[in-house]
């Protein structure tokens, strides 16, 4: 078995009074995408900063492409591309000037850097804007340029820190296509995201991270299986205290009750006629049902199940760096 391309073992990192990482383990095999999923402040960006040699861990160790991120940082930097959360291009330069500069600083000859910049600009649909100053770019264009900048050297390993945060749905879908294309080309990717659908769409494996710890790890299917094989969402015609008890026979985990007792979300096992049996059970205690849906669990359900709070809600920690 070959060693993982990205590997972090028990990483810890403290910024002032924030424990950004409290013992994080991560790994990604060659050619796969590891989705690091978590709310703001979970420690995703800090983990990326450690893995990309920008920050030193307080303890634990990490290897990228087999090189230690602390003691062999220069070797790591030759093999990675990084797209950080804040755009890291020079807004006073044109898109083309940015890419040529990064190419030259990455040891390409000037003519090669120029050719590479031209290729990337057309691949990322930035040809028309290539010679305009980045200050005037839209958010989506800046993100694309940022991603292009991290691909200048054709790195075998890519770190994408929330690459689609703040993008409109069209731009996001376009970004997903680009990432899929990179995966087809054999690149190993670590992608952080707050969006469960994004991890579900792109990741081969997902590490769910909260308060600086990995709280779950597996394929999207494995994670979903943790919350039961099916979920039933019920909307009652009025709040009813006895509803959860009436449904106890079906559920595999405590139900999640919302909207002042009017909605219930249940983890259940497959059963024939599930929807109608739920309605019947509630009918026997005299509670009417406005709406019932049976569906496979989403990652939102998984996240709620694991952390007790929804993915969009911040944890207690601040987003460090």
């Amino acid at each position: 078995m070959t060693a993982p391309v990205i590997e972090a073992v028990r990483l810890t990192k403290r910024y002032d009074d924030t424990q950004a990482l409290a013992g994080v383990d991560l790994y990604a095999d060659k050619g796969t995408l590891l989705g690091v999923l978590g709310p703001n402040g979970a420690g995703k960006s800090t983990a990326v900063r450690v893995l990309t040699t920008l920050a030193r861990p307080d303890s634990g160790c990490a290897r990228v492409a087999g090189f230690d991120v602390v003691t062999q940082a220069a070797e790591v930097r030759r093999r990675i591309g990084v797209t950080a959360q804040d755009a890291t291009v020079d807004i006073a330069l044109t898109g083309r000037q940015n890419l040529v500069m990064i190419g030259e600083l990455s040891r390409l000859a000037r003519t090669d850097a120029k050719r590479r910049a031209g290729d990337l600009l057309s691949r990322f649909d930035l040809v028309d804007a290539a010679d305009r100053v980045v200050k005037g770019y839209s958010g989506g264009m800046r993100r694309r340029l940022d991603l292009a900048a991290s691909l200048v050297t054709n790195p075998p390993i890519l770190f994408l820190d929330e690459p689609t945060t703040g993008l409109d749905p069209t731009s996001r879908a376009a970004m997903w296509d680009v990432i899929r294309g990179l995966l087809d080309g054999g690149v190993t990717v670590l992608l952080t995201t707050q969006y469960l659908d994004e991890a579900d769409q792109l990741a081969h494996r997902i590490a769910v991270i909260d308060h600086g710890r990995v709280i779950a790890d597996g394929t999207p299917a494995e994670l979903k299986a943790q919350t039961g094989r099916q979920r039933v969402d019920v909307r009652l015609s009025r709040p009813a205290a006895g509803a959860a008890d009436a449904l106890a026979a079906f559920v595999t985990a405590p139900p999640i009750i919302g909207d002042g007792g009017r909605t219930l979300s249940l983890a259940v096992d497959d059963a024939p006629g599930l929807g109608s049996r739920v309605v019947e059970a509630l009918g026997t205690i005299g509670v009417g049902v406005d709406e019932v849906t049976v569906h496979r669990p989403s990652l939102d359900d998984v996240f709620f199940h694991l952390t007790g709070h929804a993915a969009g809600e911040a944890g207690t920690g601040e987003e460090a760096a």
């Binding site: 900063r49 990309t52 030193r56 940082a73 220069a74 990084v82 006073a92 330069l93 600083l105 040891r107």
Partner: protein
């Protein structure tokens, strides 16, 4: 140990098996790529250059006309001939370090520095590239001081070598102060603080010197400060090399008796101390 060796000591910690000659070549190339980037910034916003274009012309015209009417030099000679060497130094003292401090201060507070730090480049070239573009700005500054000086009647009394040597000493001195500016830019929080703190330090330095006025008749304590002020050594050196009036030559302090040597020593000492300090500050600022 050269300045580059000092700078490279930061990079030497990184695993890098390339032979030292090619490491130096890579370092120079990285610094030059970043120098060009800074020049693009200037082209984008030419007003940045006012302190090396408008300011030197304005100061040269104002000082020669205002002070020239009232000033009698100890030992005789034309005030305008005296003033241009001092104005050259004074303009470099207030522009070269400020450009570096503000430029580096803004780079370090934006995300671009993280991008640079994830590339396989030499990190110390980030600071050096900034000082190189400021050296080019200083050359422009020197040109405008000299041009304005010629218009108002400044005449050097030396050969081409002396003239060039005067510019050379002045530019080396300005370049060493760029590294001082780098320290300021890296030590403070952002470009605005770099600007104000830089001016607070540099203006007294420029004024308590022989840049505008002969210091022969100053009170003893102030005269001593002026005589040992690096700015005075640079001003006297330029005047001596240009064959212009240099009243400081009658002051007995060693730097005023040997202004060229003193200016060169000051430049090298400032350069060495500030390059080491700036490299250390840069590492501290970018280590998490």
């Amino acid at each position: 140990m050269t300045a580059v060796d000092v700078l490279e000591s930061a990079a030497a910690l990184e695993t890098d098996r390339a032979p030292s000659a090619s490491r130096l070549a890579e370092w120079i190339r990285d610094a030059w790529v970043l120098t060009r980037r800074n020049l693009v910034h200037v082209r984008r916003e030419p007003a940045q250059l006012s302190d090396v274009t408008v300011q030197p012309i304005l100061f040269t015209l104002l000082f020669t006309q205002l002070f020239g009417a009232a000033m009698v030099l100890p030992g005789g000679g034309s005030y305008i001939d005296f003033a241009v060497g001092g104005l050259l130094i004074m303009n470099l003292v207030t522009s070269a370090p400020m450009g570096t401090a503000v430029g580096l201060g803004s780079d370090i507070s934006t995300g671009i520095i993280d991008r640079f730090r994830t590339l396989a480049m030499k990190r110390s070239a980030i600071v050096a590239g900034r000082t190189f573009s400021d050296l080019l700005a200083s050359i422009m500054c020197a040109f405008f001081v000299a041009a304005a000086g010629l218009v108002v009647g400044w005449r050097p009394d030396t050969g081409a070598m002396g003239l060039l040597a005067g510019f050379g000493v002045a530019l080396l001195f300005g370049y060493s102060l760029s590294w001082f500016g780098a320290c300021i830019g890296l030590a403070v929080r952002g470009p605005e603080s770099a600007q104000s703190i830089g001016l607070i330090i540099l203006f007294p330095l420029a004024f308590v010197s022989n840049a505008f006025v002969p210091t022969n008749n100053l009170p003893t304590w102030l005269g001593t400060i002026a005589a040992w002020n690096p700015v005075s050594a640079a001003g006297a050196a330029v005047r001596e090399l240009w064959g212009n009036p240099n009243p400081s030559s009658t002051i007995s302090a060693w730097p005023m008796q040997h202004p060229v040597a003193a200016a060169l020593i000051w430049s090298v000492v400032i350069l060495a101390i500030c390059a080491v300090t700036a490299t250390w500050l840069f590492k501290r600022r970018t280590t998490e």
